[in-house]
């Protein structure tokens, strides 16, 4: 592996981790809003119990991605920074509103409802905006006038390809989060919340698959180069679809059964693997371009000396932080005292 491939792989891993973690996070905010008036199911309190400790950590990943892009591919930063001014600013503004109001609503119960709505609505808009980065990097939505680059945001949002991406983002956010919350409430022994989230996941699963297919089909016209490349990764896509069926079946089976672990956990794991495989295929097909057709991983790459120093800092940093993460995981995700409080 060359340095550039290592760098883009690391960056893509961050993007995928963030997408999955943020889907859980944003989706949980949405569900917490939807089930606000169903006190008896405890669905909202389950969503909030997951959200409280996790959003800060998720938030850090945004910075990790931006810094990763800047430090590994400064050449791409220039172009992306210029064209993403508007959507990027909107995303961070909404995230600011959401995080602040989430913290506030925990402390001041008086405005609970209004605050929950802010967190729920932004939970859907942010993923829709974030995913627009993908079609932008595929080319065709950037115009150059007077030496300055400009994003054709209207064209992007109204194109069938842009729309199917947005549909994919929103449905995936809801699917992944309802799935995780189903597992979470199963572990916490909240039967009614579990039933609610399992039903949501069962409804949303096929919808995400449909959106993924739509995105792929519309790509043929919007970004033929990527479409052709993706065909070369057909086995990965088929494996990804296979994981979907395993996960979805685990959801449909009677839930008293166990195969090594409880069924909802199997569903979560298979669906996450499904997204990983699809993301790998997409990322690999996208190479060598970061922003088609101007910026490749070679042309945008940082100085080799800087890359080596960065790489060393990653190794040291993660070596130091991993115990912290494990401790965190034990305290909030597996400690029954917290889950069943």
């Amino acid at each position: 592996m060359t340095d550039t491939v290592i760098a883009i792989t690391l960056l893509w891993i961050f993007v995928i981790i963030y997408s999955v973690a943020a889907s859980f996070d944003f989706g949980a905010g949405f569900w917490s809003m939807v089930y606000l008036n169903h006190k008896q199911t405890k669905a909202t309190s389950i969503a909030n119990r997951y959200l409280s400790p996790s959003w800060e950590v998720t938030n850090v990943f945004i910075v990790l991605i931006v810094v990763g892009l800047v430090s590994f591919f400064p050449g791409a930063t220039y172009k992306l920074g210029t064209v993403l001014l508007l959507p990027g600013s909107l995303v961070v503004l909404l995230i600011l509103l959401r995080s602040a109001f989430m913290i506030f609503s925990h402390l001041v119960n008086k405005y609970d409802k209004a605050l929950n709505i802010v967190s729920g609505v932004t939970g859907l808009i942010v993923p829709a905006l974030l995913i627009s980065v993908l079609p932008i990097t595929q080319g065709g939505f950037i115009e150059t006038a007077d030496g300055a680059e400009r994003l054709l945001l209207g064209d992007l949002i109204l194109s069938p390809h842009g729309l199917s991406y947005i549909g994919l983002a929103v449905s995936s956010t809801l699917f992944l989060s309802s799935l995780l919350l189903a597992d979470y409430s199963f572990v916490a022994n909240e039967q009614r919340a579990f039933a609610v989230y399992r039903r949501d996941a069962m409804l949303l699963g096929p919808l995400t698959l449909l959106m993924a297919v739509l995105t792929f089909v519309t790509m043929e016209h919007a970004a033929p180069w990527l479409y052709d490349n993706l065909w070369r990764y057909l086995p990965w896509l088929i494996a990804s679809a296979g994981c979907f069926f395993i996960g979805y079946t685990a959801l449909l089976l009677p839930q008293q059964k166990r195969f090594l672990v409880h069924l909802p956990r199997i569903a979560v794991i298979s669906i996450v693997v499904q997204y990983l495989l699809a993301s790998y295929a997409y990322g690999a097909a996208h190479l060598p371009y970061i922003v088609y057709p101007d910026v490749t991983i070679e042309s945008g790459f940082t100085h080799p000396n800087t890359f080596r120093a960065l790489f060393a800092s990653y190794l040291v940093g993660f070596a130091i932080l991993t115990p912290g993460f494990l401790y965190f995981w034990r305290l909030f995700m597996t400690d029954n005292r917290y889950l069943r409080q």
Binding site: V60, T82, L85, S89, V92, L93, Y314, F332
Partner: protein, 447 residues
Amino acid sequence: MDDLLLARSLFGTTMAFHIIFATLGVGLPLMILIAELLFQRTKDRDYALMAKRWTKGQAILLGVGIPTGTIAGVQLSLLWPGFMEVVGKVISLPFQIEIFAFFLEALFMSIYVYAADRLSPRMRIVSVLLVLLGATASAVLITNVHAFEGTPAGFRIENGRIVDVDPWAAFFNPSFFVTAGHVTVSAYMTGAFAIASVAAYKMLKEKAAGRAYQFHQKALLMGLIVGGTFSLLTALNGHESAQYLHRYQPEKLAAAEGLFETQPYAPLVIGGFTDPETREVKYGLEIPWLLSFLAGNRFDEVVVGLNDFPQEFWPPLFVHTLFNAMVGIGCLLILVGFVGFAWKKMLKRDRFPRWAMWLFAASGPLAMLGIEFGWIFACTGRQPWVIYRTMLTADAATKSEGLGLLFVLFTGIYVLLGAATVLVFRSYFRRHPLPLDNPTGEASNNP
């Protein structure tokens, strides 16, 4: 307004808003740690209660501080793509390491806040210590990039290409330690005075010398002693910072002091306004020889004046006022800390006089003003450069349009959130008054 000024205003507004939360986010964990340690040592439950209440305050501040920090990070790339291209190639290390520090802080803050009741006393102290370490390291590393902008090192630009990159030389650029030290100790100072302010204000409102009064008095004394100590350190370090300017960025020092003629035995001018027409400071108080001595530890030190530089490379001259305001506030705060300490420990008086209480109550907002003036001075005084004598701010800015709309949007949200933060503070602490009769903790255990 032209686009460059808009971009600077937008980013400046973000930073001005963010540093309020960032500074307190570095300063408060120190106070929480000290309170936890005092509790373990004295077994006085008041200190445990302080730690608990300050942690709530910290949690509210983090709710705004973390996302505004994220905004600042993203806006760097969106507004200054030209600058970030150089940053990516040369000085990305501190940004990278800062993320790990940030992770450390966020992880252990979550653990400390949401799992406090499940932690042993030792683990609680370790958690706060790691929060403090993470917060301080974040501040130091971000300041590292700021220091690099003033004293760039570790690369050369040859025909528009960046060559000879040495990321560690860029990291350990000449002004790194002194600048980072300044930011750190001044943040500790501000956190401590913020605590002192609240305590003094509460004492002014409490009439009788009851339990609540005693509680606040302990907090006040702690805030004054810690704040006074760090204000002294800030001043000592500030003196060194000024000497670094003398060596590395003479036009910035010249603008800060309103000095036009290059001269030995240069006078220090306090106050007044710099007039670019007559090239002098009007209505200022002039102390002969002092500037030379401060800049180089000797009276015949030659201090370079603005006349030696082409006017297009002068920093804006109003930085003289910002610089004076920052130094003035710093000196006043040393006095505040000393008055509090002397009255209590040397004169052994029980109660502070009323004028002193109002002074204490003002110390937190004053410290924060000092921080704001200091940052505006540090960044405006570097203009027109974004990287000193290497890259002009104008060349780094985005060429996109629509900045006016974004400026209005962001400023509006900051105003809204600032107001919401104040409301949440008031409403939370009003509904959770000091539970002094029931010293085991607050009625509600919800975070």
